[in-house]
Symmetry: C2
DNA sequence: CGCAATGGCAACACACTGTTGCCATTGTCC
DNA sequence: GGACAATGGCAACAGTGTGTTGCCATTGCG
């Protein structure tokens, strides 16, 4: 063997390099989808990303930090509200959005992390984001006189869980079920 | 040190011994409550139970098997239905039961295991047990003419998630919220 | 009494975790 | 162009947990 000591292996290095963040995020997503959050190994993420373990640990000290990075883009979808013109329409759109997000690998990762003591903060932040959207939506409906505050309270209780739980059970609601649910809440 | 080779340490051994099952179950519960399902270590369970690791592995080849054993007694509570005389009473009782069970260490262990690919079977079995109860309850209400099949469908969709999801978020519903929810479903 | 069932002990190879010290590369600023 | 700071790779580390295995000890039951 010609003892070639060190060489660049097509990897960009030096200041301001961003490929690491992207490839690690992608790798984490892949691994999360493959083995779930509990079995997620920083080691495997690094290998999949084609990056050194050291590097991963430098940017993300914990699995939870990694989860937060992975999940962020999906959470941003909750920042713009559905606005279909009617309360029921908004409601259905919101339910569908929650369903869609929680079906994504990112969403499933969040679900898997829900039971983990040290991921609580991330999971809670994600939920708060969802709930903020529902709050805006329901309050708007009250303002427009489309629902009473009493309905708002119950809807608020029931909406997220009704969508999320079937998702956890891996038997998501279909569109007809979403609509039927919305019809009962907003008769 | 007088090199005392082997001695019984107050431990019952031989055929038909049952202390192992009980102490391991208790230890597993303790550990589950302490570190959650993901970090549950067979090693720690064995140590806490005062039992050899070998022994634990012999009876429970996987963490999931251990979970199933731990959780079984709680699931049995779903096998007898609430029967208060009215549909709404039954409904509230059922919701309260789900809430109570999922607040127990056993229930929290199940929630934590919900995202784990290899625990899916156990989690699903547990949910099916719950759902079976709800099914019986709602069908009985339909038979008695207290609700329509349409309400049954929606209630069926919404009940479990509405209770479980806040539990996952660690902000369980209070009694007033349970009743309000029941009142909307069964006006 | 003898045996089968049960459990303990010790050791093994393996995998993942965090961490650390040292070196290589590269963009940027002077 | 040269120096430097930022960035990342490599290798090694001790520590912990995982399953598994071979061997031995105890004990209830026929």
């Amino acid at each position: 063997m010609t003892d070639e000591p060190r060489r660049t292996r097509g990897v960009q290095r030096g200041p301001r390099s961003t490929h690491v963040i992207e490839s690690v995020r992608a790798a984490a997503l892949t691994e999360l989808d493959r083995v779930g959050f509990a079995r997620l190994a920083m080691d495997a993420v690094a290998r999949t990303a084609g990056v050194s373990r050291t590097t991963v640990y430098r940017r993300w000290p914990t699995k939870t930090a990694l989860l937060a990075t992975v999940v962020e883009p999906v959470l941003q979808r909750y920042d713009t509200d559905p606005d279909t013109g009617t309360a029921r329409g908004d409601l259905i759109a919101a339910l569908a959005l929650i369903r869609a997000n929680s079906a994504l690998p990112e969403g499933r990762a969040l679900i898997a992390a829900a039971g983990e003591p040290d991921s609580q903060a991330v999971v809670r932040a994600a939920n708060d984001r969802t709930i903020a959207m529902l709050e805006r939506l329901l309050t708007r409906a009250v303002d427009r006189g489309e629902i009473t505050t009493d309905v708002r309270t119950v809807a608020y209780l029931a909406m997220q869980g009704t969508v999320m739980w079937p998702q956890i059970r891996d038997t998501p609601l279909d569109d007809a079920e979403l609509e039927r649910f919305a019809r009962v809440l907003l008769p």
